[in-house]
Symmetry: C2
């Protein structure tokens, strides 16, 4: 049996728990983490609300929480927009919050990023609790305090590092996740294996069929281990001064795909799966000892519905330079040293990056 | 001779300096505080730009800074608006910033709050440097990391605690400050004496005529001491969990005045001067030993051009409950125990607050 709790250790003795429990444990966990019973703000999207909002409200009401303000947003990446952020501000402030009012982010990565940024900036900071409902949120975006919204020039360009008081991860919620979202989340799980844990990467290969059919025991182990890897990396480098950047493996390519193809053409997981293939290709060019075939066979298991053959590699290259990870004009990339070990470099030529793109475009 | 530097000590060994020097010291101070020479963003307003922008750009250019992007905003409180924040985002991101690009906030309190919040949220945080040009910014708003913008429901409701890397305070800039702004800033100076340093409050009374005519030696001593008081209070309680709230003496009343009268009818300093009179009146009701006459005679020296007699005390009372300092439904007020000592209470009745308002309204 895997442990039911992972601690995210931060600088200066700060820490918060990721608790793997059913949603019904929320009231006692809020209490245990110093959040006083009172009113609260729930931010969610209409898809998630249809499945879980009433359950959550019942759980809170039954244990004496009152004045629950539910803020419902449209689902999807396009909600990470200043207008939707403003809507959260308006509704939360209209409800008469104070600095002790918690914000509960019930949803996937988009809701976590958006509600997290709203919590970071309302009254200069409200207590934040993540209730991640998607695989990507459970293993990745709810952990580590990155919050934010998009800007016309790129994803997540406006935001804050803002840590939650608590993450409550209900693994049962994954069973009702739409297939496309399930598969999208697997890209981040595979990424965690490739950058930090070769044994885990091998386990994923071995158990792939059970994972696809969501065997509860297998995915419990998988989600907890993937969350633990993320927590460990974040603990070492909360503000992404250095090591944390390895979590961006594949992402500089992925952000370019999402931007040029238009948000929504690919799921984030599909873009990351493609981005990792390109990054693995560049890695292999620089290190001929890298077992590129083994990596590729794992990455090829991640299903991607569309091709990027219609996209212009030069355009893709150009927008990579808008990414936050560009440092003083040099593009910073995360590459694999071996399976389970990643490194950061800014010594990659445009030609090498183009070769990465071309491996996705050429037959 | 007063010391030329005040350290703001924060939790966990963090600290930053307030340096009292001419603007020409900026390049060496940036270097000393770990900010690498490169491109930078300057946020200012059109009034301040006309006086100092070219000088600042020359100083930076001469020492090898390049790609200086100046973002000019309209002067005044109405710039603390989401649209102007968005304009900073657009111009800064359009200029191709990275996470090392410093944001220099050249201006008064509005520019400091707005540019500070932009710095806090661009790429999840850029290095921030305050170059305060007004008295209120030099003794108050540039110190302590409060940043933010206004919302239709109240001032500063959206924001972040975000500490600068450096505050460079050029006292010579105060000589060209418009008279109205000079007098507005004096309200915060007097506040610092009343809440934390009886000797300083007495000095202010004694030197009042020299202060009004901006005697350089007197105001040097005054600004440094007022900044030091602010830094000390912030050091004890960076995130306003408790003691820092004493800096809000008079401000809950002041925010209500600004809101009901309409922003701009009173300067912030005038509203604070009036708010302190109301708060002193409530303080005296609760503590008959308070030397109310002495306090009032100091507060009456702060010139206020308009009366609030046309405002409805019940309306003023109502909007006080929108303030961030409302905690779980109880209005929290800062009152004086004696001159130089303030305390926080949430045990004030509406009737007592109304008496505070009435002392401003009745003849």
């Amino acid at each position: 049996m895997s442990k039911a709790i992972v601690q995210v250790q931060l600088d200066h003795g700060r820490a918060y728990p990721i608790q793997f429990s059913g949603l019904q444990a929320l009231p006692s966990l809020l209490d245990a983490n110093g959040l006083r019973k009172g009113s609260c703000i729930i931010v969610t999207d209409t898809n998630v609300a249809a499945l879980y909002l009433e359950t959550l409200q019942d759980i809170l009401h039954e244990s004496g929480w009152r004045d629950l303000t539910a803020i419902l947003l449209p689902p999807g990446e396009s909600s990470k927009h200043p207008n939707l952020l403003q809507r959260i501000y308006d509704q939360a402030l209209g409800a008469g919050i104070d600095r002790q009012t918690p914000v509960l982010a019930l949803g996937g990565g988009v809701i976590g990023d958006l509600a997290g940024f709203a919590a970071a900036t309302l009254l200069r900071g409200l207590p934040l609790v993540h209730l991640p409902t998607s695989l990507i949120a459970q293993v990745d975006s709810s952990i580590g305090g990155k919050t934010g919204i998009n800007h016309a020039l790129g994803k997540n360009l406006i935001g804050a590092f803002y840590q939650p008081k608590l993450v409550l991860t209900d693994l049962d919620l994954l069973q009702s996740l739409p297939e496309l979202e399930w598969r999208s989340g697997l890209a981040e799980v595979v990424k965690h294996g490739l950058i930090a844990d070769a044994d885990f990467a091998e386990e994923l290969s071995t158990n792939w069929d059970s994972i696809l059919r969501r065997d509860p025991a297998i995915i419990r182990h998988m989600v907890i281990r993937a969350a633990e890897i993320k927590a460990d990396v974040v603990s070492e480098d909360e503000r992404e001064a250095s090591r944390r950047a390895i979590l961006n493996f594949g992402h500089t390519f992925a952000h370019a795909i999402e931007r040029i193809a238009g948000y929504g053409e690919f799921t984030h997981g599909e873009a990351v799966a493609l981005g990792m293939r390109a990054a693995a290709r560049v890695s292999a060019m620089l290190n001929p000892d890298l077992p590129h075939e083994i990596i590729n066979s794992l990455l090829q298991r991640l299903p991607v519905r569309n091709s990027i053959r219609h996209l212009d590699p030069k355009e893709l290259l150009r927008v990579m330079y808008y990414d936050k990870k560009v440092q003083s004009g040099n593009l910073r990339l995360i590459l694999l040293q071996e399976i389970g070990s990643a490194y950061i470099t800014n010594k990659i030529t445009e030609k090498q990056i183009l070769s990465g793109w071309n491996c996705l475009i050429e037959p």
